[in-house]
Structure formats: C-alpha cells, structure tokens
C-alpha cells in the first residue's frame, strides 16, 4: 500500500528492487551450470563486450596515465621525489584507478547497451517469442551476457593498466627524460605479484555487476519505448553505485589481508 510519505515509498521500491535483483542473481546461478550451454552466443557476446570496448578503454587508459603523471609531477618535483613517479603511478593504477575507471567506462558503454538491447527486445515481444519457441531466453540472453562481461572485464582492465602506464612513461620520457626501460623497470620493481591479485578478482566482480544490472534492467523493462530509455539510464546509475560498493568491500577485505 502506498504511503503518503515519499521517503517510505522510495525506500519500499528500492528494497523491492533489491529483492528482485537478488532473485534474478539466484536464477543466474541456477541456470549458468545447467545444460544446454550457449557457447556460440557466449563467444559472440565476449566479442561484443571485449573487442568493441578495446578502443574506448585504451584511449581512456592512455589519457588517465598522461593526466595522472602531469598532475602529480609538480608536487613530486617540489619534494624532490620525482624518481618515485613510476612507483606511485604503477601502484595507483594497478591497485585502484585502472580497475575502477575501466569498470566505470564499461558500465557506461556495456550496461547501458545491454539494458537498452534487452529492453527493446522485451517491449517488441522478442523475448516472449523466444520463450514460446521453446528456447530459454534467460539462458540465451542473460546468462551469456553476464558470463561475457565477467570474463572480459579483467582482460580489459589489464589492457587498460598497460596502456595507462605507457601514457605515464611517455610523459616521463618527454618531461623528465626518463627512458622507457628505466620507467618500466622502476614501475614493475615496485609491484609484487600480490598487487595484481586483488584488483583482478575485483575486476571479475565488477564485470559481473555490469552484466547483471544491465540484464536485470533490460529483461524486466516496462512501459514501452520510454521504459527502454529508463532501463538504459538506470542500468548505468545502478551499476556505478554497485561498483563503488564492491570496490569498498574489496579494499576493506584486502586491507585485512595486508594487516595479517
């Protein structure tokens, strides 16, 4: 029953949505391990998610590396710590900025794309048509997309990190006359194998969140073409929020391990 207090109604709708999202997640885990497996469609989605995001992630990563180095350089010069530049940049990119920025970029491109695509399929009855033809649309459309984003995001993050470091090295080469070899030697000296594990694990969760929310919003899209726009829009907003929550949890857990 609707309350006369908007805050109560909003909280109720939010909690209902969380409940539905949880049920949707449960259904995903139920269906993902059940045959028949849609390998062909999964590869197609991996191509869509991965290959078609390469340029965007590459350009963003490159600019991130450039900007981070240019902004930090004066401060490090002031304190005579400019030789720490490769370490500072590599640690910040690999541990936090790379995964987070790549995930946010992908949330904008992929989650909204999935939300709009599935939403438009819903309102034009294409999902219903799949269902009455005996194909499980959840498995064909949702499971493949979520698995594809989960698998592709860590790869995109690794690529984004590498390009960001290259961008940073380029600035150091021109401004600080540091060779690429020296820059990358210093950068990788400051990184341990353990530095790659938490962000990589985190990236799988980010990819999962992007696919999950995009599919959820699109699959249950309502109210015609307006609903498609709303699905695409809310998919991005909700995914971005979820990414920050996941990031906080990941950093919190990583900190506990570092303290041990």
């Amino acid at each position: 029953m609707a309350s006369r207090f908007p805050i109560v109604n909003n909280t109720t709708s939010f909690l209902i949505e969380i409940g539905e999202l949880s049920r949707f997640t449960g259904r995903f885990f139920k269906e993902v391990f059940k045959a028949p497996f849609e390998f062909k469609e999964l590869l197609h989605q991996c191509y869509n998610v991965g290959n078609r995001s390469l340029v965007l992630v590459g350009v963003t990563g490159f600019i991130l590396g450039l900007v981070l180095t240019m902004q930090t350089r004066p401060t490090l010069v002031e304190f005579g710590a400019v030789s720490w530049m490769p370490r500072m940049v590599s640690v910040s990119i690999v541990r936090e900025l790379g995964p987070m920025i790549t995930a946010l970029i992908c949330a904008g491109r992929i989650a909204s794309g999935i939300g709009a695509e599935l939403g438009s399929m819903r309102v034009t009855e294409q999902i219903d048509a799949m269902e009455v033809s005996g194909t499980n649309p959840f498995k064909y459309l949702v499971v493949t997309r979520i698995v594809a984003t989960t698998l592709m995001l860590p790869l995109l993050v690794l690529m984004g990190d590498a390009i960001a470091l290259y961008g940073s090295a380029l600035i150091e080469y021109f401004r600080g006359e540091v060779s690429f070899q020296l820059y990358f030697t210093k950068a990788f000296d400051s990184l341990e194998f353990g530095d790659f594990i938490p962000p990589t694990i985190k990236s799988f969760f980010f990819g999962f969140a992007i696919g999950l929310v995009g599919c959820f919003k699109g699959y249950y899209c309502k109210k015609g073409t307006v609903g498609v726009g709303v699905a695409a829009n809310t998919a991005v907003v909700f995914t971005s929020m979820l990414l920050f929550v996941f990031d906080f949890i990941a950093v919190f857990i990583t900190d506990i391990f570092y303290e041990l």
Binding site: M121, E125, D128, S133
Partner: protein, 262 residues
C-alpha cells in the same frame, strides 16, 4: 437470433460432439492491480477449425492468448491444451508442448539482430527432434519461406523488410516447427488493407497445407469474415456471444452490432 448468448458462468462453445477440442479454457480470470481484465472466460478450440475471438482494444484478448502459452499466469481458471493442463506442467514439459503451438505476435517480434535465415533457424536449435530423417535446417528454412513467398529475403535483416513482409517472415518462423495449433495475435493490425488481405489468404492456405487449428485474436471484421469458422465476442472479460460470422453479423444486440457496424 441464431447466435448463442453466453452467461458468465456458462462453459463456452456450441458443443460439437464430433470434433476433438485441442484447447479448453475454463473460467479464466486475470487482473492487473485491481483491474479485472478477464472475468471467467470460457472457450474451446476444436481440431482443424479457425476460431476468431473478437473484442475491442483492452478487452483482454492478448492477455487471454498469453495465458494460453504460459507467458502470463491466470489468477484462476484452467487452460488445457491437447489434454495437458498448462499450470501443472514443468518448464521442460511446457517447452515441449510449445513446440506444437505456433504464435504469431502482433508486431511480428522478429529478432532484429538476426537475419531472416537465423530467425527461422532459431526455433530449430532446441527442437531438432522435429526434423524428419534426411531433412536439413536449410531445407526447412527454404520450405517455410517458400510457403510465404519470401525465399529471396533469406539473407536480409528484418529492418530491411516492409511491415507485411515482416509479418510473413514471422508466420514462416511460426510454421518451421510444423505446429498443430497456431495462435494469431492481431495478424492484420498495422497493415494496409491489401497487405492485410494477403496475410489472411496466407493464413487460409497455411491452414489447408498444415491442417492446423487456429485461434485468431482480432478486431478486424474483414479478417474475421474471411477466416472464421466460428467466433466468440469478448466483452468485459467474458465471452459475450458465440456463433458463426453471419449469425453475429445479423444480431440486433447493441453490443454485438457495435463490432459489425459498417
């Protein structure tokens, strides 16, 4: 008056002792947020017949047809298709039953990211058992397209087709599994009169070739005139009247006259 007026609780149809009923709907009720769309709808579809259900927009025709294939769950009542109660079936059993039922959607519902060929191949992915020995997917696709006169569109995308062609491709996709029952949801809506006539002729020829039983949901009187063996008028969520086209057309009942007024 020759037509039969139906009361809310009365079970549908002029009983036909010879023909076997392939779909039986009893007391179907469905409401959305307190809005009662179906209020105890009853219907029987007999083997080999074309049954037209007419009603004005929002009268619950599409809701009824979606309850038939399990896309919506009724609040109460029962839907029996070929002796199987829909609500009692598991997901796998329902999928199996659905392969015997073709569904032509109001807006064609072609998968717009796939070519015509891929659209037609799609239902065969899960139902290869429907293919007879020696039959290939390619042959079945071509045969279905040939039946609707659109072999040349096989490698086109749905967006490259006109509305009428899309409807015919959707019909070909419906036919690919050689269903025993075809459900048509507003098959002529949004089409010009000439294309609508072509679709109606196509529906008639399909019924002859495939020997299907058809349930046609429409508010197009011309379509009903040509194709209906029997008609049901859906008013206020119940089957208000039932009979042949001419019986209903000659009725003096104001609610029935409203549909047939020239």
């Amino acid at each position: 008056m020759n037509y039969k007026m139906i009361t809310e609780k009365e079970i549908s149809t002029v009983e036909n002792p010879i023909k076997e009923a392939v779909i039986i709907i009893k007391d179907l009720c469905k409401s959305f947020s307190g809005n009662h769309v179906l209020n105890g709808f009853n219907m029987k579809l007999y083997k080999g017949e074309n049954l037209v259900v007419m009603g004005k927009s929002g009268s619950g025709k599409s809701v009824m047809i979606k309850c038939l294939v399990g896309l919506m769950h009724p609040d109460s009542g029962s839907v029996e298709i070929m002796g199987k109660e829909i609500e009692d079936l598991s997901h796998e059993e329902l999928d199996e039953l659905r392969s015997d039922i073709g569904f032509l959607f109001q807006g064609s519902a072609l998968y717009d990211s796939m070519t015509v060929r891929e659209n037609l191949e799609f239902p065969l992915r899960r139902h290869r058992d429907r293919m007879q020995d020696g039959e290939t997917t390619k042959e079945l696709v071509l045969e279905a397209l040939k039946n609707v006169g659109l072999e040349h569109t096989i490698d086109l995308m749905p967006a490259e087709l006109s509305g009428g062609m899309q409807r015919r491709v959707a019909l070909a996709r419906t036919l690919i599994l050689k269903p025993k029952i075809i459900l048509y949801d507003e098959p002529t809506s949004g089409l010009d009169p000439i294309t609508a006539k072509e679709i109606i002729e196509l529906m008639r020829s399909i019924q002859k070739v495939y020997k299907t039983s058809s349930l046609i949901i429409t508010h197009d009187v011309d379509c009903a005139r040509v194709i209906a063996d029997r008609m049901i008028l859906l008013v206020d969520g119940i089957n208000y009247a039932e009979g042949s086209f001419s019986e209903l057309d000659n009725s003096n009942d104001p609610k029935i006259e409203a549909f047939f007024k020239k």
